[in-house]
Symmetry: C2
Subunit: 298 residues, 2 copies
Amino acid sequence: MSRLLYTLSAEDGLSRDLLAATDYQAGRMELRNFPDGESYVRILDDVKGRDVAILCQLHRPDTKVLPLLLLADTLHDLGASKVGLIAPYLSYMRQDKRFREGEGVSSHYFARLISQHLDWLIAVDPHLHRIHALDEVYTVPAVALTAVEPIAHWLREHVEKPLVIGPDSESEQWAARVGEAAGCPWEVLSKQRFGDRDVRVSVPHVDQYRDHTPVLVDDIISTGKTMLQAASHLHEAGLQGTICIGVHGIFADGALEEMRAAGVRVVTSNSIPDDSNEIDLAPLIARELASGPCLECD
Amino acid sequence: MSRLLYTLSAEDGLSRDLLAATDYQAGRMELRNFPDGESYVRILDDVKGRDVAILCQLHRPDTKVLPLLLLADTLHDLGASKVGLIAPYLSYMRQDKRFREGEGVSSHYFARLISQHLDWLIAVDPHLHRIHALDEVYTVPAVALTAVEPIAHWLREHVEKPLVIGPDSESEQWAARVGEAAGCPWEVLSKQRFGDRDVRVSVPHVDQYRDHTPVLVDDIISTGKTMLQAASHLHEAGLQGTICIGVHGIFADGALEEMRAAGVRVVTSNSIPDDSNEIDLAPLIARELASGPCLECD
Protein backbone atom coordinates (compact mmCIF):
# COMPACT_ATOMS: atom_id res chain seq x y z
CA MET A 1 0.00 0.00 0.00
CA SER A 2 1.33 3.40 -0.90
CA ARG A 3 2.05 6.06 1.66
CA LEU A 4 -0.41 8.90 2.16
CA LEU A 5 0.19 12.64 2.37
CA TYR A 6 -2.31 14.84 4.22
CA THR A 7 -2.04 18.57 3.64
CA LEU A 8 -3.11 20.95 6.40
CA SER A 9 -2.49 24.21 4.58
CA ALA A 10 -5.07 25.84 2.40
CA GLU A 11 -2.43 26.47 -0.26
CA ASP A 12 -1.56 23.19 -1.92
CA GLY A 13 1.12 24.04 -4.50
CA LEU A 14 3.94 22.36 -2.57
CA SER A 15 1.66 19.43 -1.73
CA ARG A 16 0.83 18.88 -5.41
CA ASP A 17 4.52 19.01 -6.35
CA LEU A 18 5.42 16.52 -3.59
CA LEU A 19 2.71 14.11 -4.73
CA ALA A 20 4.06 14.34 -8.29
CA ALA A 21 7.65 13.72 -7.17
CA THR A 22 7.12 10.88 -4.67
CA ASP A 23 5.25 7.60 -4.23
CA TYR A 24 2.84 9.30 -1.79
CA GLN A 25 -0.85 9.45 -2.64
CA ALA A 26 -3.07 12.34 -1.58
CA GLY A 27 -4.74 11.59 1.74
CA ARG A 28 -8.40 12.53 1.80
CA MET A 29 -9.97 14.08 4.86
CA GLU A 30 -12.69 16.37 6.08
CA LEU A 31 -11.28 19.11 8.30
CA ARG A 32 -13.65 21.85 9.32
CA ASN A 33 -14.84 23.89 12.27
CA PHE A 34 -17.98 23.28 14.28
CA PRO A 35 -20.14 26.43 14.70
CA ASP A 36 -18.50 26.87 18.14
CA GLY A 37 -15.02 27.04 16.60
CA GLU A 38 -13.82 23.56 17.58
CA SER A 39 -12.08 21.49 14.91
CA TYR A 40 -13.66 18.40 13.37
CA VAL A 41 -11.40 15.79 11.73
CA ARG A 42 -12.51 12.85 9.63
CA ILE A 43 -10.15 10.66 7.64
CA LEU A 44 -11.63 9.28 4.41
CA ASP A 45 -8.93 6.64 3.74
CA ASP A 46 -8.21 3.30 5.32
CA VAL A 47 -4.95 4.17 7.11
CA LYS A 48 -4.57 1.01 9.17
CA GLY A 49 -0.96 -0.14 9.04
CA ARG A 50 0.03 2.59 6.57
CA ASP A 51 2.75 5.20 6.75
CA VAL A 52 1.38 8.70 6.49
CA ALA A 53 2.82 12.21 6.44
CA ILE A 54 1.23 15.55 7.23
CA LEU A 55 2.39 18.64 5.35
CA CYS A 56 1.88 21.69 7.55
CA GLN A 57 3.29 25.11 6.75
CA LEU A 58 3.83 26.34 10.28
CA HIS A 59 4.16 30.11 9.86
CA ARG A 60 1.68 31.90 12.14
CA PRO A 61 1.54 28.61 14.03
CA ASP A 62 -0.77 29.24 16.98
CA THR A 63 -4.01 28.61 15.07
CA LYS A 64 -2.59 25.56 13.27
CA VAL A 65 -1.09 23.50 16.06
CA LEU A 66 -4.24 22.16 17.74
CA PRO A 67 -5.76 20.98 14.41
CA LEU A 68 -2.37 19.41 13.57
CA LEU A 69 -2.26 17.53 16.89
CA LEU A 70 -5.89 16.38 16.54
CA LEU A 71 -5.19 15.17 12.99
CA ALA A 72 -2.08 13.27 14.10
CA ASP A 73 -3.95 11.73 17.06
CA THR A 74 -6.81 10.69 14.78
CA LEU A 75 -4.43 9.01 12.31
CA HIS A 76 -2.70 7.13 15.13
CA ASP A 77 -6.06 6.18 16.65
CA LEU A 78 -7.21 4.77 13.30
CA GLY A 79 -4.16 2.53 13.22
CA ALA A 80 -1.70 4.38 10.98
CA SER A 81 1.74 2.84 11.35
CA LYS A 82 3.82 6.04 11.44
CA VAL A 83 2.60 9.62 11.27
CA GLY A 84 5.28 12.10 10.24
CA LEU A 85 5.36 15.87 9.90
CA ILE A 86 6.76 17.80 6.95
CA ALA A 87 7.16 21.37 8.21
CA PRO A 88 9.19 23.21 5.54
CA TYR A 89 9.19 26.21 7.88
CA LEU A 90 9.59 24.99 11.44
CA SER A 91 8.20 27.47 13.95
CA TYR A 92 9.29 28.19 17.52
CA MET A 93 13.02 27.83 16.90
CA ARG A 94 14.09 31.32 17.98
CA GLN A 95 13.29 31.44 21.71
CA ASP A 96 15.95 28.80 22.35
CA LYS A 97 17.14 30.05 25.73
CA ARG A 98 15.93 32.10 28.69
CA PHE A 99 17.25 35.49 27.61
CA ARG A 100 15.54 37.22 30.54
CA GLU A 101 14.45 35.83 33.90
CA GLY A 102 11.00 34.27 33.79
CA GLU A 103 10.87 33.63 30.06
CA GLY A 104 9.59 30.40 28.63
CA VAL A 105 11.99 28.47 26.39
CA SER A 106 9.38 27.79 23.75
CA SER A 107 11.77 26.02 21.37
CA HIS A 108 12.11 23.22 23.90
CA TYR A 109 8.43 23.04 24.82
CA PHE A 110 7.30 23.08 21.21
CA ALA A 111 9.76 20.32 20.27
CA ARG A 112 8.51 18.16 23.14
CA LEU A 113 4.89 18.73 22.10
CA ILE A 114 5.53 17.77 18.48
CA SER A 115 7.62 14.76 19.56
CA GLN A 116 4.71 13.51 21.70
CA HIS A 117 2.29 13.48 18.77
CA LEU A 118 4.33 12.72 15.65
CA ASP A 119 6.78 9.98 14.72
CA TRP A 120 9.24 11.90 12.59
CA LEU A 121 9.90 15.41 11.34
CA ILE A 122 11.37 16.95 8.22
CA ALA A 123 12.13 20.68 8.22
CA VAL A 124 14.06 22.95 5.86
CA ASP A 125 16.70 25.27 7.33
CA PRO A 126 15.25 25.49 10.82
CA HIS A 127 16.75 28.44 12.68
CA LEU A 128 19.55 26.57 14.52
CA HIS A 129 21.51 28.84 16.79
CA ARG A 130 22.04 27.75 20.39
CA ILE A 131 20.32 24.52 19.44
CA HIS A 132 22.87 22.99 17.07
CA ALA A 133 20.82 20.07 15.78
CA LEU A 134 17.13 19.25 15.92
CA ASP A 135 17.76 16.04 17.85
CA GLU A 136 18.95 18.09 20.82
CA VAL A 137 15.29 19.00 21.42
CA TYR A 138 13.21 16.66 19.24
CA THR A 139 13.07 13.12 20.61
CA VAL A 140 11.75 11.62 17.36
CA PRO A 141 13.87 11.34 14.19
CA ALA A 142 14.14 14.91 12.92
CA VAL A 143 15.92 15.93 9.75
CA ALA A 144 17.00 19.47 8.90
CA LEU A 145 17.32 19.80 5.16
CA THR A 146 18.97 22.85 3.66
CA ALA A 147 17.84 24.99 0.74
CA VAL A 148 21.45 25.83 -0.20
CA GLU A 149 21.35 23.69 -3.34
CA PRO A 150 17.86 24.86 -4.48
CA ILE A 151 19.00 28.48 -3.99
CA ALA A 152 22.22 27.80 -5.94
CA HIS A 153 20.16 26.14 -8.67
CA TRP A 154 17.92 29.21 -8.88
CA LEU A 155 20.94 31.52 -9.04
CA ARG A 156 22.52 29.53 -11.88
CA GLU A 157 19.26 29.70 -13.84
CA HIS A 158 18.29 33.32 -13.20
CA VAL A 159 21.32 35.53 -12.44
CA GLU A 160 24.22 35.96 -14.82
CA LYS A 161 27.03 37.18 -12.54
CA PRO A 162 25.84 36.88 -8.96
CA LEU A 163 27.81 38.13 -5.96
CA VAL A 164 26.38 36.38 -2.91
CA ILE A 165 26.42 38.59 0.17
CA GLY A 166 25.70 37.83 3.82
CA PRO A 167 23.97 40.86 5.36
CA ASP A 168 25.79 40.48 8.69
CA SER A 169 28.53 38.44 10.33
CA GLU A 170 26.01 35.83 11.58
CA SER A 171 25.24 34.92 8.00
CA GLU A 172 28.85 34.24 6.94
CA GLN A 173 28.51 30.42 6.92
CA TRP A 174 25.31 30.74 5.01
CA ALA A 175 26.70 33.07 2.33
CA ALA A 176 29.77 30.84 1.96
CA ARG A 177 27.72 27.69 1.38
CA VAL A 178 25.41 29.31 -1.16
CA GLY A 179 28.32 30.98 -2.99
CA GLU A 180 30.29 27.75 -3.16
CA ALA A 181 27.27 25.73 -4.31
CA ALA A 182 26.46 28.29 -7.00
CA GLY A 183 30.11 28.56 -8.07
CA CYS A 184 30.15 32.33 -7.60
CA PRO A 185 31.97 34.78 -5.33
CA TRP A 186 30.60 35.61 -1.91
CA GLU A 187 31.27 38.28 0.69
CA VAL A 188 29.92 39.39 4.05
CA LEU A 189 29.16 43.01 4.87
CA SER A 190 31.67 44.17 7.45
CA LYS A 191 31.14 46.76 10.15
CA GLN A 192 33.89 49.09 11.25
CA ARG A 193 33.48 51.29 14.29
CA PHE A 194 35.24 54.69 14.20
CA GLY A 195 33.56 56.08 17.28
CA ASP A 196 30.46 55.78 19.42
CA ARG A 197 28.13 56.88 16.64
CA ASP A 198 30.28 56.32 13.61
CA VAL A 199 29.80 52.78 12.37
CA ARG A 200 30.60 52.24 8.72
CA VAL A 201 29.45 49.21 6.78
CA SER A 202 31.54 48.28 3.82
CA VAL A 203 31.43 45.73 1.03
CA PRO A 204 34.81 44.00 0.95
CA HIS A 205 36.52 44.00 -2.45
CA VAL A 206 33.65 45.99 -3.92
CA ASP A 207 35.76 47.21 -6.83
CA GLN A 208 36.09 43.69 -8.21
CA TYR A 209 32.31 43.33 -8.42
CA ARG A 210 31.08 46.40 -10.30
CA ASP A 211 29.60 44.19 -13.02
CA HIS A 212 28.03 41.65 -10.64
CA THR A 213 24.47 41.44 -9.36
CA PRO A 214 24.45 41.64 -5.55
CA VAL A 215 22.40 38.84 -3.99
CA LEU A 216 21.71 39.06 -0.25
CA VAL A 217 20.92 35.70 1.33
CA ASP A 218 19.51 34.83 4.76
CA ASP A 219 17.43 32.06 6.28
CA ILE A 220 14.45 34.11 7.46
CA ILE A 221 13.07 37.43 6.27
CA SER A 222 10.82 38.65 9.07
CA THR A 223 10.56 42.43 9.39
CA GLY A 224 12.92 42.82 6.41
CA LYS A 225 14.96 45.50 8.24
CA THR A 226 18.27 43.60 8.05
CA MET A 227 17.86 43.06 4.32
CA LEU A 228 16.80 46.66 3.64
CA GLN A 229 19.73 48.13 5.59
CA ALA A 230 22.13 45.83 3.78
CA ALA A 231 20.60 46.75 0.41
CA SER A 232 21.05 50.40 1.29
CA HIS A 233 24.76 49.84 2.05
CA LEU A 234 25.18 48.02 -1.27
CA HIS A 235 23.55 50.95 -3.03
CA GLU A 236 25.93 53.40 -1.30
CA ALA A 237 28.86 51.23 -2.34
CA GLY A 238 27.73 51.55 -5.94
CA LEU A 239 26.21 48.10 -6.48
CA GLN A 240 22.84 48.15 -8.24
CA GLY A 241 19.85 45.84 -8.67
CA THR A 242 20.01 43.99 -5.35
CA ILE A 243 18.18 40.68 -5.06
CA CYS A 244 17.15 39.56 -1.54
CA ILE A 245 16.81 35.80 -1.09
CA GLY A 246 15.28 34.36 2.06
CA VAL A 247 14.50 30.70 2.50
CA HIS A 248 11.51 31.55 4.67
CA GLY A 249 9.55 34.71 3.86
CA ILE A 250 7.60 35.38 7.05
CA PHE A 251 7.11 39.06 6.18
CA ALA A 252 5.65 40.52 9.35
CA ASP A 253 3.59 43.70 9.06
CA GLY A 254 3.69 44.33 5.30
CA ALA A 255 7.46 43.80 5.07
CA LEU A 256 7.29 42.35 1.55
CA GLU A 257 5.51 45.42 0.20
CA GLU A 258 7.99 47.69 2.00
CA MET A 259 10.97 45.86 0.48
CA ARG A 260 9.47 46.02 -3.00
CA ALA A 261 8.69 49.69 -2.56
CA ALA A 262 12.39 50.21 -1.75
CA GLY A 263 13.25 48.76 -5.14
CA VAL A 264 14.74 45.39 -4.22
CA ARG A 265 13.70 42.12 -5.81
CA VAL A 266 12.58 39.62 -3.18
CA VAL A 267 12.88 35.88 -3.79
CA THR A 268 11.84 33.13 -1.35
CA SER A 269 11.28 29.40 -1.31
CA ASN A 270 7.80 27.89 -1.20
CA SER A 271 8.21 26.93 2.48
CA ILE A 272 5.70 29.73 3.16
CA PRO A 273 3.25 30.31 0.30
CA ASP A 274 3.57 33.78 -1.17
CA ASP A 275 3.93 35.48 -4.54
CA SER A 276 7.67 35.89 -3.87
CA ASN A 277 8.13 32.09 -4.06
CA GLU A 278 10.56 31.25 -6.84
CA ILE A 279 12.66 28.52 -5.25
CA ASP A 280 10.94 25.14 -5.27
CA LEU A 281 11.65 22.88 -2.27
CA ALA A 282 9.66 19.91 -3.60
CA PRO A 283 12.63 18.07 -5.19
CA LEU A 284 14.70 18.46 -1.99
CA ILE A 285 11.91 17.16 0.26
CA ALA A 286 10.97 14.43 -2.22
CA ARG A 287 14.54 13.07 -2.14
CA GLU A 288 14.38 12.91 1.67
CA LEU A 289 10.98 11.18 1.57
CA ALA A 290 12.52 8.52 -0.67
CA SER A 291 15.29 7.70 1.80
CA GLY A 292 14.87 9.52 5.09
CA PRO A 293 13.57 9.01 8.61
CA CYS A 294 10.08 8.30 7.34
CA LEU A 295 11.56 4.99 6.10
CA GLU A 296 14.23 4.38 8.75
CA CYS A 297 11.88 4.34 11.71
CA ASP A 298 9.69 1.59 10.20
CA MET B 1 3.51 31.96 50.10
CA SER B 2 0.11 32.56 48.60
CA ARG B 3 -1.08 30.81 45.49
CA LEU B 4 -1.05 32.64 42.16
CA LEU B 5 -3.75 32.96 39.51
CA TYR B 6 -2.75 33.68 35.90
CA THR B 7 -5.52 34.79 33.57
CA LEU B 8 -5.25 33.96 29.88
CA SER B 9 -8.42 35.67 28.72
CA ALA B 10 -8.54 39.30 27.74
CA GLU B 11 -11.76 39.72 29.74
CA ASP B 12 -10.88 39.65 33.42
CA GLY B 13 -14.21 40.04 35.25
CA LEU B 14 -14.30 36.46 36.51
CA SER B 15 -10.60 36.61 37.35
CA ARG B 16 -11.08 39.73 39.46
CA ASP B 17 -14.00 38.13 41.31
CA LEU B 18 -11.99 34.95 41.97
CA LEU B 19 -9.07 36.95 43.33
CA ALA B 20 -11.47 38.79 45.66
CA ALA B 21 -13.07 35.54 46.87
CA THR B 22 -9.95 33.36 47.38
CA ASP B 23 -6.45 33.49 48.83
CA TYR B 24 -4.98 33.60 45.31
CA GLN B 25 -2.91 36.59 44.26
CA ALA B 26 -2.86 37.87 40.69
CA GLY B 27 -0.02 36.30 38.75
CA ARG B 28 1.89 38.79 36.63
CA MET B 29 3.12 37.88 33.18
CA GLU B 30 3.97 39.21 29.78
CA LEU B 31 2.13 37.31 27.07
CA ARG B 32 2.36 38.68 23.56
CA ASN B 33 3.00 37.72 19.97
CA PHE B 34 6.25 38.09 18.11
CA PRO B 35 5.87 39.87 14.73
CA ASP B 36 5.80 36.41 13.11
CA GLY B 37 2.75 35.36 15.15
CA GLU B 38 4.53 33.09 17.65
CA SER B 39 3.66 33.49 21.32
CA TYR B 40 6.09 34.91 23.87
CA VAL B 41 5.61 34.11 27.56
CA ARG B 42 7.42 35.70 30.48
CA ILE B 43 6.46 35.17 34.11
CA LEU B 44 7.11 38.17 36.36
CA ASP B 45 6.70 36.36 39.70
CA ASP B 46 8.95 33.95 41.57
CA VAL B 47 6.88 30.78 41.18
CA LYS B 48 9.42 28.29 42.52
CA GLY B 49 7.67 25.83 44.81
CA ARG B 50 4.34 27.65 44.55
CA ASP B 51 0.91 26.40 43.55
CA VAL B 52 -0.49 28.26 40.59
CA ALA B 53 -3.70 28.18 38.58
CA ILE B 54 -4.44 29.37 35.07
CA LEU B 55 -7.90 30.74 34.27
CA CYS B 56 -8.63 30.13 30.59
CA GLN B 57 -12.06 30.60 29.05
CA LEU B 58 -11.87 27.92 26.40
CA HIS B 59 -14.65 28.89 23.98
CA ARG B 60 -13.26 29.16 20.43
CA PRO B 61 -10.35 27.12 21.74
CA ASP B 62 -8.08 26.56 18.76
CA THR B 63 -6.22 29.87 19.05
CA LYS B 64 -5.92 29.61 22.85
CA VAL B 65 -4.57 26.12 23.41
CA LEU B 66 -0.96 26.59 22.26
CA PRO B 67 -0.46 29.74 24.41
CA LEU B 68 -2.07 27.84 27.32
CA LEU B 69 0.32 24.90 26.91
CA LEU B 70 3.35 27.19 26.57
CA LEU B 71 2.29 29.09 29.70
CA ALA B 72 1.83 25.86 31.67
CA ASP B 73 5.19 24.51 30.46
CA THR B 74 6.91 27.79 31.39
CA LEU B 75 5.44 27.71 34.92
CA HIS B 76 6.54 24.10 35.41
CA ASP B 77 9.97 24.89 33.98
CA LEU B 78 10.38 27.78 36.43
CA GLY B 79 9.71 25.38 39.30
CA ALA B 80 6.04 25.90 40.12
CA SER B 81 4.83 23.09 42.36
CA LYS B 82 1.45 22.44 40.74
CA VAL B 83 -0.07 24.15 37.72
CA GLY B 84 -3.85 23.78 37.48
CA LEU B 85 -6.40 24.86 34.93
CA ILE B 86 -9.69 26.58 35.68
CA ALA B 87 -11.76 26.22 32.50
CA PRO B 88 -15.29 27.32 33.40
CA TYR B 89 -16.31 26.27 29.89
CA LEU B 90 -14.45 23.11 28.95
CA SER B 91 -14.13 22.71 25.20
CA TYR B 92 -13.96 19.54 23.10
CA MET B 93 -16.48 17.55 25.14
CA ARG B 94 -18.99 16.88 22.37
CA GLN B 95 -17.12 14.65 19.90
CA ASP B 96 -17.00 11.88 22.51
CA LYS B 97 -17.29 8.92 20.16
CA ARG B 98 -16.66 7.96 16.53
CA PHE B 99 -20.10 8.70 15.12
CA ARG B 100 -18.93 7.99 11.56
CA GLU B 101 -16.03 5.90 10.32
CA GLY B 102 -12.76 7.81 10.21
CA GLU B 103 -13.69 10.50 12.71
CA GLY B 104 -11.32 11.63 15.40
CA VAL B 105 -12.57 11.33 18.98
CA SER B 106 -11.40 14.78 19.94
CA SER B 107 -12.80 14.62 23.50
CA HIS B 108 -10.28 11.90 24.29
CA TYR B 109 -7.33 13.51 22.50
CA PHE B 110 -7.99 16.91 24.06
CA ALA B 111 -8.25 15.40 27.55
CA ARG B 112 -4.94 13.59 27.08
CA LEU B 113 -3.27 16.79 25.85
CA ILE B 114 -4.47 18.83 28.82
CA SER B 115 -3.55 16.02 31.24
CA GLN B 116 0.02 16.01 29.86
CA HIS B 117 0.56 19.69 30.60
CA LEU B 118 -1.52 20.53 33.67
CA ASP B 119 -1.78 19.03 37.15
CA TRP B 120 -5.47 19.49 37.85
CA LEU B 121 -8.62 20.81 36.20
CA ILE B 122 -11.77 22.54 37.38
CA ALA B 123 -14.65 22.90 34.90
CA VAL B 124 -18.28 23.94 35.28
CA ASP B 125 -20.98 21.72 33.76
CA PRO B 126 -18.82 20.12 31.11
CA HIS B 127 -20.99 18.46 28.47
CA LEU B 128 -20.98 14.91 29.88
CA HIS B 129 -22.87 12.48 27.70
CA ARG B 130 -21.18 9.24 26.70
CA ILE B 131 -18.32 10.30 28.96
CA HIS B 132 -19.98 10.07 32.38
CA ALA B 133 -17.24 11.66 34.47
CA LEU B 134 -14.17 13.71 33.59
CA ASP B 135 -11.83 11.14 35.14
CA GLU B 136 -12.79 8.67 32.40
CA VAL B 137 -10.68 10.75 30.01
CA TYR B 138 -8.63 13.15 32.16
CA THR B 139 -5.76 11.42 33.95
CA VAL B 140 -5.17 14.32 36.37
CA PRO B 141 -7.63 15.25 39.15
CA ALA B 142 -10.55 16.84 37.32
CA VAL B 143 -13.59 18.29 39.02
CA ALA B 144 -16.89 19.04 37.28
CA LEU B 145 -18.74 21.70 39.25
CA THR B 146 -22.35 22.45 38.46
CA ALA B 147 -24.06 25.81 38.08
CA VAL B 148 -27.38 24.42 39.36
CA GLU B 149 -27.14 26.32 42.65
CA PRO B 150 -25.97 29.64 41.08
CA ILE B 151 -28.85 29.38 38.59
CA ALA B 152 -31.32 28.63 41.41
CA HIS B 153 -29.94 31.61 43.34
CA TRP B 154 -30.43 33.86 40.32
CA LEU B 155 -34.02 32.59 39.88
CA ARG B 156 -34.87 33.24 43.53
CA GLU B 157 -33.53 36.80 43.22
CA HIS B 158 -34.94 37.75 39.84
CA VAL B 159 -38.09 35.77 38.94
CA GLU B 160 -41.22 35.81 41.06
CA LYS B 161 -43.02 32.62 40.00
CA PRO B 162 -40.69 30.65 37.77
CA LEU B 163 -41.66 27.48 35.94
CA VAL B 164 -38.42 25.71 34.99
CA ILE B 165 -38.69 23.91 31.66
CA GLY B 166 -36.35 21.49 29.94
CA PRO B 167 -36.52 22.13 26.18
CA ASP B 168 -36.24 18.42 25.30
CA SER B 169 -36.18 15.01 26.95
CA GLU B 170 -32.35 15.09 27.20
CA SER B 171 -32.60 18.02 29.57
CA GLU B 172 -34.99 16.36 32.06
CA GLN B 173 -32.36 15.74 34.76
CA TRP B 174 -31.11 19.24 34.34
CA ALA B 175 -34.55 20.88 34.66
CA ALA B 176 -35.35 18.70 37.68
CA ARG B 177 -32.19 19.70 39.53
CA VAL B 178 -32.63 23.43 38.85
CA GLY B 179 -36.34 23.32 39.77
CA GLU B 180 -35.67 21.48 43.00
CA ALA B 181 -32.78 23.76 43.96
CA ALA B 182 -34.90 26.86 43.27
CA GLY B 183 -37.92 25.40 45.05
CA CYS B 184 -40.16 25.90 42.05
CA PRO B 185 -42.10 23.61 39.67
CA TRP B 186 -40.40 22.13 36.65
CA GLU B 187 -41.56 20.38 33.49
CA VAL B 188 -40.08 19.00 30.28
CA LEU B 189 -41.57 19.70 26.87
CA SER B 190 -43.05 16.47 25.56
CA LYS B 191 -43.35 15.38 21.95
CA GLN B 192 -46.30 13.39 20.72
CA ARG B 193 -46.33 11.87 17.25
CA PHE B 194 -49.69 11.63 15.49
CA GLY B 195 -48.33 10.68 12.08
CA ASP B 196 -45.26 11.01 9.89
CA ARG B 197 -45.45 14.78 9.71
CA ASP B 198 -47.65 15.56 12.66
CA VAL B 199 -45.52 15.94 15.76
CA ARG B 200 -47.06 18.06 18.51
CA VAL B 201 -45.05 19.52 21.34
CA SER B 202 -46.97 20.19 24.50
CA VAL B 203 -46.29 21.74 27.87
CA PRO B 204 -47.48 19.24 30.51
CA HIS B 205 -49.94 20.69 33.05
CA VAL B 206 -49.81 24.06 31.29
CA ASP B 207 -53.12 25.16 32.81
CA GLN B 208 -51.60 25.17 36.31
CA TYR B 209 -48.92 27.62 35.22
CA ARG B 210 -50.74 30.49 33.51
CA ASP B 211 -49.40 32.96 36.09
CA HIS B 212 -45.81 31.60 36.04
CA THR B 213 -42.81 32.86 34.09
CA PRO B 214 -41.48 30.09 31.83
CA VAL B 215 -37.72 29.59 32.25
CA LEU B 216 -35.99 27.31 29.75
CA VAL B 217 -32.71 25.88 31.04
CA ASP B 218 -29.92 24.02 29.23
CA ASP B 219 -26.18 23.58 29.64
CA ILE B 220 -25.03 25.06 26.32
CA ILE B 221 -26.66 27.58 24.00
CA SER B 222 -24.86 27.21 20.68
CA THR B 223 -26.98 27.99 17.62
CA GLY B 224 -29.96 28.79 19.90
CA LYS B 225 -32.34 26.75 17.69
CA THR B 226 -33.43 24.36 20.48
CA MET B 227 -34.23 27.26 22.78
CA LEU B 228 -36.05 29.25 20.10
CA GLN B 229 -38.22 26.30 19.06
CA ALA B 230 -39.06 25.59 22.68
CA ALA B 231 -39.91 29.26 23.30
CA SER B 232 -42.19 29.16 20.27
CA HIS B 233 -44.03 26.11 21.70
CA LEU B 234 -44.42 27.90 25.03
CA HIS B 235 -45.86 30.91 23.23
CA GLU B 236 -48.35 28.68 21.38
CA ALA B 237 -49.31 27.10 24.70
CA GLY B 238 -50.13 30.56 26.02
CA LEU B 239 -47.11 31.14 28.27
CA GLN B 240 -45.55 34.58 27.90
CA GLY B 241 -42.24 36.26 28.70
CA THR B 242 -39.89 33.29 28.28
CA ILE B 243 -36.46 33.48 29.85
CA CYS B 244 -33.72 31.26 28.33
CA ILE B 245 -30.94 30.29 30.72
CA GLY B 246 -27.79 28.59 29.44
CA VAL B 247 -24.77 27.93 31.60
CA HIS B 248 -22.49 28.41 28.62
CA GLY B 249 -23.47 30.96 25.99
CA ILE B 250 -21.40 29.99 22.96
CA PHE B 251 -23.74 31.78 20.55
CA ALA B 252 -22.49 30.69 17.17
CA ASP B 253 -23.23 32.94 14.19
CA GLY B 254 -25.13 35.78 15.84
CA ALA B 255 -27.41 33.44 17.81
CA LEU B 256 -27.71 35.84 20.77
CA GLU B 257 -28.98 38.66 18.56
CA GLU B 258 -31.40 36.27 16.86
CA MET B 259 -32.81 35.09 20.19
CA ARG B 260 -33.21 38.64 21.44
CA ALA B 261 -34.89 39.66 18.18
CA ALA B 262 -37.38 36.84 18.77
CA GLY B 263 -38.33 38.46 22.04
CA VAL B 264 -36.83 36.08 24.60
CA ARG B 265 -34.65 37.19 27.49
CA VAL B 266 -31.29 35.39 27.45
CA VAL B 267 -29.35 34.80 30.66
CA THR B 268 -25.99 33.02 30.92
CA SER B 269 -23.23 32.48 33.44
CA ASN B 270 -19.88 34.26 33.15
CA SER B 271 -18.16 31.06 31.97
CA ILE B 272 -17.98 32.78 28.57
CA PRO B 273 -17.78 36.59 28.79
CA ASP B 274 -20.78 38.26 27.17
CA ASP B 275 -23.38 40.92 27.93
CA SER B 276 -25.90 38.14 28.68
CA ASN B 277 -23.86 37.12 31.76
CA GLU B 278 -26.02 37.46 34.86
CA ILE B 279 -25.08 34.33 36.80
CA ASP B 280 -21.79 34.66 38.65
CA LEU B 281 -19.69 31.48 38.93
CA ALA B 282 -16.98 33.05 41.09
CA PRO B 283 -18.43 31.92 44.48
CA LEU B 284 -18.84 28.34 43.20
CA ILE B 285 -15.30 28.14 41.84
CA ALA B 286 -13.88 29.94 44.88
CA ARG B 287 -15.36 27.29 47.21
CA GLU B 288 -13.72 24.55 45.15
CA LEU B 289 -10.37 26.40 45.17
CA ALA B 290 -10.56 26.46 48.97
CA SER B 291 -10.96 22.70 49.27
CA GLY B 292 -10.60 20.93 45.93
CA PRO B 293 -8.06 19.04 43.87
CA CYS B 294 -5.75 22.03 43.78
CA LEU B 295 -5.11 21.25 47.45
CA GLU B 296 -5.50 17.46 47.45
CA CYS B 297 -2.77 16.77 44.95
CA ASP B 298 -0.17 18.66 46.96
